[in-house]
């Protein structure tokens, strides 16, 4: 008798014959002496003998075997053969059943309106809980990606094999950013042969939804599956190249699609939407919520429901609120996102098909337009940018500028300039600007940032006060201030520049005494000079301003 018994793991390894020779011999020796371990080994064998319950191999369907044999002659097309053969077999089965039971022609189309058989009681749940971590092939997928919100509408087509009677379909979205409340399944046979009855979110099974359907036929049925997902994004990227004299621009637009959704979309048709969509909640948050619909509100009377602002999922569309729970959930999910305003909505469809693996991005060319007339303007406004002089480019999204076909989506623009130094046709980097969404016929403003070679210097040359007025107590009640300014507009570039300098007077009560170059009154308290400054030169402006204060201002 050995004092130390064999471990359970040792017994298992002994039973399946993976022990090396010395250990096996030692185990044999121990078992020969130890009755307790022999009993434990016997128990283990009884327990493992349960595996025999699943010993028998099932027989595959004959059409499947026939299709596999056909693969020898047509290996590349074998996958397409299977559905046809299975479908043919299913059709033959249906034919036989119909002939036998109803003596009706099997090839005749099904009745126009199918109703659920009164004898067909819906099952409470799928009869088997086998592991469901696989999927049939997705035949087609269309992605509609909105850049205004983290929102993508996915529309898939799949061929599913149905059997006559009740069918369960399971959808799993673990580790993805799919919004489970947006799932919709629609049979595409067009004849009502399959009826989708309900979508169930089983308890204690996060990331799982099951559809219950009643099929009047056996065989393959095409389905459309539609849902929202998050994590797919697109944004526009622009490259603008100025001509050497900066009078014209070439604009190249690209679209960058990034997939962080956790899902891979193969051979997808990609559509990109420019438009405003306001979501009450983010899809990513909905995707992670369990259960899918949160606490049910259906049992709460309408009068006691929380205000609309607290509803978990709603789309604001043209001022109306769509709440899906107010409708039949199978029907309520809209086929496509409505735009907030018709004029603010545009759809790009990328030609061809693309595969966008999870975690990948892809940049696609969108358009290229040359010879866009462009206006350069340098702005100096201490109220907005301090001492810096900012550079701007202006053009318009219209036919006069060779554009205007589509809105320009929001995106980042990199601006280059064509130069002849150090060699012909070189490029210099001019700056980067964010392009806002530009509707057709609207103006485009690109802010390139501070310009180092164009400057405005402002100096106070003289200051005095006069025209004092006193109240009855002898205190000063009003006065004028007179200030003389010198503005130096410098251009150290090799090109002429147009410079706009805005001057804040600080009060709406003022008068120009003298000015070497007359400004324009921009608003009540601002003057503005807009001048062309020659290359490598300075333009000096002198100006004397009188401002009125106290009762002097009131009496004007």
């Amino acid at each position: 008798m050995t004092s130390q018994h064999l471990s359970q793991d040792r017994l298992v390894d002994y039973q399946i014959g993976v022990l090396d020779e010395p250990l096996r011999l030692a185990t044999d020796a121990h078992l020969a002496e130890c009755e307790a371990c022999r009993e434990r080994l016997a128990d283990l064998r009884l327990r493992l003998a349960h595996l025999e319950l699943l010993r028998e191999d099932p027989t595959p369907p004959e059409p499947l075997v026939a299709a596999a044999i056909a693969a020898a002659s047509r290996p590349r097309r074998a996958l397409r053969i299977l559905p046809l053969l299975v479908g043919a077999a299913a059709a033959a089965l249906v034919l036989a059943l119909v002939l036998r039971q109803f003596l009706a022609p099997a090839s005749a189309p099904p009745p126009p309106a199918y109703g659920i058989s009164p004898d067909a009681k819906p099952p409470f749940a799928p009869a088997s809980n086998i592991e469901l971590n696989v999927l049939p092939r997705r035949d087609d997928v269309q992605l509609t990606i909105y850049n205004a919100a983290d929102l993508t509408l996915v529309r898939e087509t799949r061929q599913l094999t149905m059997k006559q009677g009740w069918n369960w379909l399971q959808f799993m979205w673990a580790n993805t950013l799919i919004d489970p409340t947006s799932l919709e399944l629609l049979p595409q046979d067009g004849e009502g042969r399959v009826e989708v009855r309900q979508l169930v979110y089983p308890p204690r099974l996060p990331g799982v939804g099951r559809w219950l359907m009643y099929s009047h036929v056996s065989g393959q049925v095409p389905f459309n599956v539609t849902y929202f997902t998050s994590g797919l994004r697109w944004n526009a990227v622009y490259f603008a190249t100025l001509s050497q004299d900066e009078s014209h621009l070439q604009l190249d637009g690209h679209v960058r699609v990034t997939n962080g959704s956790g899902e891979e979309y193969d051979n997808a048709q990609v559509r990109l939407v420019v438009g405003e969509v306001r979501l009450k909640e983010q899809i990513a948050q909905l995707a992670q919520r369990q259960p899918a619909y949160g606490s049910p509100l259906d049992s709460v009377p309408v009068s006691r429901r929380p205000p609309v602002s607290d509803w978990p999922y709603a789309l604001f569309i043209d001022g109306h609120v769509e709440d899906y729970r107010d409708h039949d959930r199978q029907k309520a999910f809209p086929r496509e996102i409505l735009k907030e305003g018709l004029s603010e909505y545009f759809l790009y469809t990328i030609e061809g098909r693309d595969t966008i693996p999870d975690g990948w991005g892809k940049r696609l060319p969108s358009f290229s337009v040359a010879d866009i007339p462009v206006r350069n303007l340098y702005k100096h406004d201490p109220d907005r940018w301090g001492d810096a002089t900012m550079r701007f480019l202006y053009f318009a999204n219209d036919s006069d500028h060779n554009l205007g076909q589509t809105p320009l989506p929001e995106g980042q623009t990199r601006i280059f300039r064509r130069v002849d130094q150090p060699a012909p046709d070189h490029l210099t980097y001019e700056g980067r600007a964010d392009l806002k969404y530009i509707p057709v016929d609207d103006k485009v403003e690109l802010e390139l940032g501070p310009a180092k070679k164009v400057s405005v210097e402002r100096l106070l040359m003289d200051q005095r006060s006069e025209n004092y007025r006193f109240d009855r107590g002898g205190n000063i009640a009003g006065w004028d201030e007179v200030k003389s300014w010198k503005l130096t507009l410098g251009n150290r570039r090799g090109l002429p520049v147009r410079l706009e300098s805005t001057f804040n007077i600080g009060t709406p009560h003022w008068q120009i005494e003298t000015a070497s170059i007359n400004p324009v009154k921009h608003d009540a308290s601002h003057l503005r000079w807009t001048l062309d400054v020659s290359p490598q030169s300075e333009t000096i402006i002198t100006c004397t301003l009188r401002t009125y204060h106290g009762i002097n201002a009131e009496n004007r």
Binding site: V18, I69, S128, L132, N133, P136, L169, M172, E263
Partner: protein, 183 residues
Amino acid sequence: MDPTDETLMKSWQHGDATAFGDLVRRYSSPLYGYLLRLCGNRQEAEDLFQETFERVASRRHQYRDGRPFKPWLYGIASHLATDRFRWARRRPTLVGVDEADPILGDDPSPDEAAQSGDLKRLVRAAIDSLPPRQRATLILVYYQQMTYPEAAECLGCSLGTVKTQMSRAMRTLAQRLPDGVLT
């Protein structure tokens, strides 16, 4: 005496199309059973079954004369299944939930199934709970009755790895399988 797998394979390589049909029929049931146990889903098993023989057909010229056919066939099937598992791990899935599990046979009604604690179902659940590689090893060695070297060739790993996977699988099953005498 029936021709061996290897003889059939050689005949097929030399243009005898019926030899391939014989091979498919010879292995249809065990291979389908292997895939069904591995995937736990009829539709997926059918897809993989089809793909396996498609792959065999497209790679028949790579088959070396004299090489054992069975491990080669199961190796292709295992490789495709592993790819599918890896692929499906981060994807939403849409599958048919069969009301009659082809391995378990006809089921009782849902209510009865929920209450009966069917032994087969428990065994099936225990196997399904194993990681895919352990499950594949168990099915090859236990149900397909392959030797450890054959299973290693199928799975493309070393003999030691197969033994380790088998050991881990059986240790887990020893804890999860039900007690009591099999009736």
